[in-house]
Symmetry: C2
Subunit: 383 residues, 2 copies
């Protein structure tokens, strides 16, 4: 039989595209004793999580809950419930995750109407407007709020309004934005939003909070075809999450992960969502000042930058992989590599949730400055 030691993680500061550093309060909550998923005490916890998520999403939507899987499962849950075979779906793509949305729409029989923008730029709402005029029978418009693969922030308020005026539903990917960038689900009239826990909520990965308004729920309830996924069928999941005293079993909820989410959402509510947005922005400016002083350049135009995910051009003088390895091994600092079209071209530096702190900015600036200087001088910096 295999014998391994208990796993002791190395000391890291997580400033990549996620997971971000998890608050000690959340880590402690994860280790509380497991109880049953139908226990009255757990049902109360679920109700509190729903209320806390409504606050985070800035919504009154009844259907607000965590999906029992990572952000990708939340994305697919929204797509397979809201798209019926043969329907037209405008998918905005300006990075990896718009591409993933397209693939999911195709796999459930939707017809993708692509609206493509360059990687590292925001989605252009005028292109969405043009696509809606060309395809007035569009059923759904899907767009990523904060494109984690590039660090670009898109104007989903405008895009959701365009969709609604054209009679289409909107799906917004808020995986990296929730808690870090202004997101007002109700005020902006977004019909469905999904997110993840491992970005600005600073909860470990594995859950995907979603919220759907009444228009979206009506579509799910009135589908002509069954949702192709049994696991993700909201008609069934709602029997458990909104069933009240008559809650019906669908799948066993991930109890301890939900303890962690509850605590992470409490941390957010204590700070206040607007203050959290402001902190992410302020820390972004501090990081920017430090990195620019060190001679580094941002990849995304200023007006379209995400505060919580900073894409920096990899300086010509350094070796991408070797530098990130040095940051990890010598400074315990994780930053992200470029993905897809930006692979090898950018570093992605996250400032998300609990990780968005002054001491992390100082560490990051010093560490990045060091590895770049060493590349220029050809000698390791004496520490």
């Amino acid at each position: 039989m295999p014998t391994f030691s208990s796993f002791v993680p190395p000391r890291r500061v997580l400033m990549g595209p996620g997971p971000s550093d998890v608050s000690p309060r959340v880590l402690e909550a994860l280790s509380r004793p497991t109880i049953g998923h139908l226990d009255p005490a757990f049902i109360s916890l679920m109700e509190e999580i729903k209320q806390l998520l409504r606050y985070a999403f800035q919504t009154e939507n009844e259907l607000t809950m965590p999906i029992s899987g990572p952000g990708t499962a939340g994305m697919e849950t929204c797509v397979v419930n809201l798209v019926e075979p043969g329907e037209k779906v405008i998918v905005c793509q300006n990075g990896v995750f718009g591409g993933r949305l397209k693939e999911m729409v195709k796999r459930c029989g939707g017809l993708v109407i692509p609206v493509d923008d360059p990687w590292g730029r925001a989605v252009d709402p005028e292109k969405v407007e043009t696509a809606l005029r060309a395809h007035p029978d569009t059923a759904v418009v899907a767009v990523v709020h904060a494109e984690t693969s590039t660090g670009a922030l898109s104007d989903v308020a405008t895009i959701a309004a365009l969709a609604r005026n054209a009679g289409a539903l909107s799906i917004v990917d808020a995986v990296t934005s929730l808690g870090g960038s202004e997101l007002r689900t109700d005020d902006w009239g977004i019909d469905a939003v999904y997110s993840g826990t491992q970005k600005c909520l600073s909860v470990p990965p594995g859950l995907s909070p979603i919220t759907l308004n009444d228009r979206a729920v009506a579509k799910v309830r009135g589908r002509k075809t069954p949702v192709q996924s049994w696991f993700m069928d909201l008609n069934l999941i709602l029997g458990y999450w909104t069933g009240g005293a008559q809650r019906s079993y669908h799948h066993t909820a991930p109890i301890n992960a939900l303890y962690g989410l509850h605590e992470g959402l409490r941390v957010l509510a204590e700070e206040g969502i607007e203050k959290s947005w402001a902190r992410h922005t302020a820390n972004h400016h501090a990081l920017r000042a430090g990195l620019e002083s060190a001679g580094l350049t941002f990849a995304v135009p200023e007006a379209e930058r995400l505060p919580q995910l900073n894409s920096i051009l990899v300086p010509d003088v350094v070796d991408d992989a070797a530098s990130r390895k040095a940051l990890l091994e010598r400074f315990g600092l994780e930053i992200g590599a470029g993905l897809g079209a930006l692979a090898g071209k950018v570093w992605r530096i996250g400032l998300m949730g609990y990780a968005s702190r002054r001491e992390n900015i100082d560490l990051c600036v010093e560490a990045v400055e060091t590895v770049v200087r060493e590349a220029v001088t050809g000698m390791p910096h004496v520490q």
Copy 2:
């Protein structure tokens, strides 16, 4: 903004159909600091988890890994990857979970050939043989090893052999059996197995270990149609879990949940899988002796009983829901209600993993005896 206290779970002994009591070692592991999903240290952890799971499944299969969702996600992953539209699938049903398999097969375009047995009985291999003769073009045979909804154990070794002789693949649901009942994936020639963490592994719910042999992987790799789920497409997931140094990103792995699984699998390996099976059987006999002394009757015939999930007929004198409430509130003891055809007729008493201990048997027998006696005498037992 909503303000809630940090969640402190009530003290419970989990002897229902799962989740089961989680080992303190596993709870502690959950709270270790989160690291990145592409961190070299995490990649090493993933390799150890794969080896430990191979031991638990008794297999050498390369594709052995946890799916990032509960057992239901593992079930659907096996079905959507191994069934193509239009293919015939024999689904054995003797409880809730066979019914769930049928629904998933239908939703991905498979043609269900039902093999039904009464709830509370094992699947009859002769019926499977007859169905295979009537449908020689059957592509897949799906069967539940340990039917959690009834407490019946089926002979999946014989059923997998029948499938293989007929040229069909076998899918076995081992959610409740893994670690608690003899399961020999390779020796029995099973092509695909999925399980859950919250039963006899005594890890919180949220992950679904799966294993596929080369025949099953060849089918996934050689599909004529794309897997309908992007999230569950093993062709994509394997790029992350078996990609070696060139691991490609698919979704963010649930880091801390995997710390817990690693520790839970270490606990199993330290005990030894055969010893774990034997412990579950011995404790089942002890519980049986106690409950029968108290006048209670098992719902499943002796030869077909699961040691880790004991279905007891609800005595005529008691109120089902009120009695379970009394067990929970006065004894901190969670047992399970009947499901589906057995709702209101049985209690399901789990003895799984860390919960399968002598002290729990004593607590359960005393508590159940007490609430039954009180129902007979009409007065609460003085404690």
